[in-house]
Amino acid sequence: MGSYAGRETVAKKKSDFGTLYKGHEGQWTWIAHRVTGVAIILFLFAHVVDTAVIGWGPEAYNRVLSVYQNWGVRLLELGLVAAVLFHAINGVRIMIIDFWPSATRYNRQLLYGTVGLFVASMIPITWIMGKDILELAGVLH
């Protein structure tokens, strides 16, 4: 069968032997999807609480938001934006494969497209958020 022959070539890939975590690209995106997902929901748990503080008035809310006047926190915020973007773009790839199984033929292209789109969108975002981070760290004035 043709599909069987296809699998043969996949199984013969060099990465199947002796690597840390039998890494096809798809397995790394699988891990990344899981890690970013867990990171986002844990942040969300905290974020609902800090936003809810607005119900206790401006003094309380503004004090909570002053947490963000710290370059370390801003760096984590950049990480959060990256996590959301990756999870979103990779989620679209997952849905394409799930709902149009014939797209599996273009798996490699879809995978590199996902990573490419993610990196391309993170460049301007890092530029924009990075300026604030460096200002808070005292590097930029």
Binding site: R7, V10, A11, K13, D16, K22, H24, G26, Q27, T29, W30, I31, H33, R34, G37, V38, I40, I41, L44, F45, V48, V49, T51, A52, I54, G55, G57, P58, Y61, N62, L65, Y68, R74, E77, L80, V81, V84, L85, A88, N90, G91, V92, R93, I94, M95, I97, D98, F99, T104, N107, I125, I128, M129, D132
Partner: protein
């Protein structure tokens, strides 16, 4: 219905074929199929709600630097943003807790522990959903006249 000891999302089949897939296998039916479908449908909506929220609040227009009580007061004058935020709250929480359930199914194998861990996540989610819903719909800046 998947048995409790079964892994939900294997990282790859022994022959390597599933390593090209990103998502969980489509369940055959029942509640698990609905949960699988929900993840994908809420995912599409969150693509706009969550990515939009992150870009508006954290990246463009000054990012989080310009967010304060006054900013949210103005923003929540519009029912559009209150609805957006409430939908984001609900969908992100349910999507997230359903994802956490997949993770505990994979890594927490003892049924008692699995139940306990899932319960903790469900309770946190319910409490936060309740808290967030109350705040989004009852927030009234007139309660704080000195601003």
């Amino acid at each position: 219905m998947a048995t409790t000891a079964e892994r939900q999302s294997p990282p790859g089949q022994p022959d390597g074929s599933a390593s090209y897939r990103g998502g969980r296998e489509r369940p055959a039916g029942g509640l698990e199929l609905w949960s699988w479908l929900f993840m994908r449908i809420s995912g599409i909506v969150l693509l706009f709600l969550a990515v939009g929220h992150v870009l508006i609040m954290h990246v463009f227009g000054g990012g989080v630097s310009r967010v304060d009580f006054k900013f949210v007061e103005l923003r929540w004058q519009s029912p559009f943003w209150r609805t957006w935020d409430w939908m984001l709250l609900s969908l992100a929480l349910i999507h997230g807790v359903n994802g956490l359930r997949s993770v505990t199914m994979d890594y927490v194998t003892k049924p008692g522990w699995r139940f306990a861990v899932n319960m903790v996540f469900y309770v946190i989610t319910f409490v936060l959903f309740f808290l967030g819903t109350v705040i989004v719909f009852t927030f009234n800046p007139a309660n704080f006249p000195q601003t």
